[in-house]
């Protein structure tokens, strides 16, 4: 993976930069000893790692502003970081950068049930946002599988999704306000407990900008009343085509499940041996979850069952109680872990139109055979967000490279099918060089123009999202 050559000028000034940061924050929150900064050398795309110049852990918006002002003056690149669970290398440092972590900023600032929102510091983890309101019957809807660890800051930066976003939307649909600090140290307040912008939609623009426009320090999030209950149904099919057609029919029927999850034979087999979830022996499996009162759940599962039966399912299992439900979800929830036990894997994240599912799955199978690497498919079928898991052995020379080439082929296939390179994990460094597959130069130029306005010196997370070649002049001007 290409990264820009570090600035020797910055490296040479390391001690001065570190001293200035130590003057601004208390000493223990500036880490420059390689032993301490080691934990920050990569994110969940662990194949790529680099020690940063130093790591700072500010405790307030004011301290974040101080840090950014200093870095701006010293012309040091800054890489914002939440929990480092990015799968795209979004939080990966360069050797001449300051990693700015918000993990100390975790407070709940305000809970307002009348306005149905919560204001938190951005380093708070996703799950603990729901934790702060669940006793009162509320929850925060976006639920990435990493929700125990990942932060709201990282969720905002990546516009994270989750299993339940078919019904509730992704981060951008549940975000009401932000406090953000731009690279020059200006504190920006966007939105609040009210809905929608008067002028431009800054919230929408910042959400998903991968830490390139500003450092998010606080967020106002929409919270929702918990549904009365939820229940999944498991349906096994003899072929991916039939499963795909069934998904389409369910969506058309007017039922809006909270989740429609898909697993293929490979994943089912691995998961079965790992967690004994009791999944049927079949080519494709759907987990469809609906919400409501017990009677409403019965009605909806009744409709879904009728639709599924028209597609000759191999098995159709309706959860009767919480135990059944947990067993149905068990395998899906352990899928990534189970695949990881088997081998190293690379998790892709392209999205395709739901109608293209069968065709794309078939092509992925062919590519898997062509490159000689196994692929398991587990994904959010309701919205076409695929997660092909390419299995490889990192210790076997050349396999990582083959895996990356195969991954790129699959993502190109997603774009060609009318979809996109990434549905929820972000571009980071991983898909940076594929951006031209989806976008023309003018499309990319328009996006980079936005960064020019908010971060004219291109110091915030500069080596991410856009192909390095496309940003070279801008970064050099910094």
């Amino acid at each position: 993976m290409d990264m820009p050559a570090p600035s020797h000028d910055v490296l040479n000034r390391k001690s001065r930069i570190v001293d200035r940061l130590k003057n601004a924050l208390s000493v223990e929150h500036v880490k420059s000893d390689p032993v301490e900064t080691r934990a920050y050398e990569c994110d969940a795309l662990a194949a790529y790692a680099c020690q940063p110049l130093c790591v700072v852990l500010p405790g307030s918006t004011g301290e974040v502003a101080d840090v950014l002002r200093i870095c701006s003056e010293e012309r040091v690149p800054v890489v914002p970081r939440g929990s480092g669970t990015s799968l795209a290398g979004g939080a990966m440092p360069t050797s001449d950068c300051v990693v700015l972590g918000v993990s100390r900023m975790t407070r709940v600032l305000e809970v307002d049930y009348e306005c149905r929102c919560i204001r938190v510091e951005a380093g708070r983890t996703n799950l603990s946002v729901t934790g702060a309101v669940e006793e009162d019957g509320f929850f925060y809807a976006p639920d990435p599988s990493s929700q125990l660890a990942c932060t709201i800051a990282g969720n905002v930066a990546m516009n994270a999704g989750g299993a339940h976003c078919l019904k509730y939307g992704v981060t951008t649909n549940n975000l009401l306000g932000l406090t953000m600090v731009t690279m020059d140290g200006s504190v920006v307040e966007i939105g609040g407990a009210h809905m929608d912008a008067s002028g431009y939609d800054w919230l929408g623009l910042v959400c998903g900008s991968e830490g390139q426009l500003g450092v998010v320090t606080e967020a106002t999030l929409r919270i929702l009343p918990r549904p009365e209950g939820a229940m999944p149904m498991l349906i096994g099919f003899a072929s991916p085509e039939v499963a795909g057609a069934c998904v389409s029919d369910i969506i058309r029927a007017g039922v809006l499940p909270v989740a429609i999850e898909y697993m293929d034979r490979k994943v089912i087999e691995v998961v079965e041996s790992f967690s004994q979830a009791g999944y049927p022996d079949c080519e494709a499996l759907l987990i469809v979850e609906v919400e409501g009162s017990p009677a409403e759940i019965d009605d909806q599962l009744g409709i879904i069952g009728d639709i599924a039966r028209r597609h000759d399912p191999i098995e159709l299992r309706e959860a009767r109680d919480a135990d059944d439900a947990a067993r149905i979800w068990l395998g899906r929830k352990s899928a990534f872990g189970a695949m990881g036990q088997l081998n190293d894997y690379m998790c892709l994240d392209g999205t395709i139109p739901v109608s293209e599912l069968p065709r794309v799955l078939k092509r992925i199978g062919a590519l898997s055979r062509q490159y000689g690497l196994d692929i398991g498919n587990v994904f959010h079928a309701g919205d076409g967000n695929m997660h092909p898991l390419i299995l490889f052995n990192a210790n076997s020379p050349g396999e990582l490279e083959t895996c990356e080439v195969l991954g790129a082929e699959i993502l190109k296939l997603c774009v060609e099918a009318g979809g996109c390179l990434t549905g929820e994990h972000g571009v980071g460094i991983e898909k940076r060089d594929l951006m031209h597959v989806q976008f023309d130069p003018a499309d990319l130029e328009a996006q980079m123009n936005v960064k020019d306005v908010l971060d004219p010196a291109w110091l915030l997370n500069p080596a991410k999202v856009f192909p390095l070649g496309a940003t070279a002049t801008r970064r050099a001007a910094a």
Partner: protein, 377 residues
């Protein structure tokens, strides 16, 4: 009047423009500062180009009349869930609202409170920037975080950053059944509490509005439920119990016809109460809890509350500055004389550094200043 027939002609019209352009779709939503420029209408770029009911997606050229889209969706039992308002009654305009104008104004109706705004249903855009370059962003899939989200930036930018040529929208199934719970005689503060109680229940309320002076002269609070027949019957009953402290509830049911027609939702959505009067009309988006204080501070103004109190439409004495009545959120002038609009500013002034960023974006996307210059500041 410039009437390009396709995207390429649109791009040529922009790159060849010698003077600023006043962009319009149907011209039914002339909100913003008056623009001095040559008229350019996008109405020539018309037609649905892709509609996949099984994938809940629709792509249309920006000039496509909204009615055409709504008819196509209705034929498949689907709808635009953000319930875009029709500004014609309120503004006394004529013509056909277009999907491009709807998106450019981020026009969202009562269901916004549950389902989301127009911007939440916008999956992709194609547009022509101020130099005549054709740019695309987003796409036709439900989940997409590839690059910056210019899709949402374009929603609500009212033609000041680019002229939309094509939009892709997520659509939703139309509910089988609707029930509206009506509460009579509530004071504004009590009504906001009642709406909040309803919205905070697990029954997925899809509309919560209050009018201090309803059609029969008395206050009425409206709570809407939508979904499958049996579910709505159940939820209406449970919600009635849940709202018992606010007095007796009358329930209106409907299982067919346009969903918004039920019990006056179109009347709320289009703010018909303020149509054809001589007052200025202001739109406030505020934290719902602040609605009672806003209404009180507006004095004699006639108001309509939507979004559980989060959206307030006020008809106020011409020329007066109603923006002073809010402490958070934003106030927009929807209808007033040009003099008032210029003096008070149509949109909420943005705090720094956002105002500078906004100017910076306009300079990047429209360096010559030809796209609706001055409309948004």
């Amino acid at each position: 009047m410039l009437i390009p027939a396709d995207e390429r002609e649109l791009a040529e019209a922009v790159s060849g423009a010698a003077r600023p352009l006043a962009v319009r779709g149907g011209g039914t939503r002339p909100v913003g500062h008056p623009v001095d420029g040559d008229d350019l209408t996008v109405a020539g770029l018309s037609g649905i180009t892709l509609y996949e009911p099984g994938a809940l997606t629709l792509i249309a050229r920006a000039g496509t009349p909204l009615v055409e889209i709504q008819a196509a969706l209705a034929a498949e039992g689907q709808m635009l869930a953000f319930e875009p308002m029709d500004h014609r009654t309120l503004l006394g305009t004529s013509g056909e609202p277009t999907i491009g104008g709807t998106v450019a104004a981020n026009a969202s109706g009562p269901r916004r409170v549950r389902a989301g705004a127009c911007r939440d249903f916008l999956l992709g855009v194609r547009f022509v920037d101020g130099r005549g370059k054709i740019i695309k962003n987003g796409g036709r899939v439900m989940k997409n975080v590839t690059g910056y989200d210019l899709v949402r930036l374009m929603a609500g930018s009212r033609g000041t950053l680019g002229i939309l040529s094509e939009v892709c929208l997520k659509v939703l199934p139309r509910p089988e059944s609707t029930a509206v719970l009506l509460l009579a005689g509530l004071a504004v503060d009590v009504a906001v509490r009642a709406m909040s109680a309803a919205l905070n229940s697990p029954y997925e309320v899809s509309g919560a509005a209050h009018v201090p002076v309803g059609l029969d002269g008395d206050p009425v609070t409206m709570i809407r439920l939508e979904g499958f027949e049996a579910s709505i019957a159940y939820r209406a009953e449970r919600l009635t119990d849940h709202l018992a402290e606010f007095g007796p509830v009358e329930i209106e049911r409907r299982t067919e016809g346009p969903e918004s027609a039920t019990a006056g939702w179109a009347w709320i959505r289009d703010v018909e109460a303020h149509g054809g009067t001589g007052e200025d009309v202001w739109r406030f988006s505020i934290p719902p809890r602040e609605a009672p204080a806003l209404v009180e501070s507006l004095g004699d103004a006639r108001v309509v509350l939507d979004w559980g109190g989060g959206l307030v439409w006020a008809a106020v004495e011409p020329g007066c500055d109603a923006r002073r009545s809010i402490s958070s959120g934003h106030a927009t002038i929807i209808r007033a004389e040009d003099e008032t609009r210029n003096r008070l500013g149509v949109f909420q002034p943005e705090p720094e550094p956002l105002a500078t960023f906004a100017e910076g974006l306009r300079r990047k996307f429209d360096p010559e200043g030809i796209l609706n210059p001055g409309l948004m500041g």
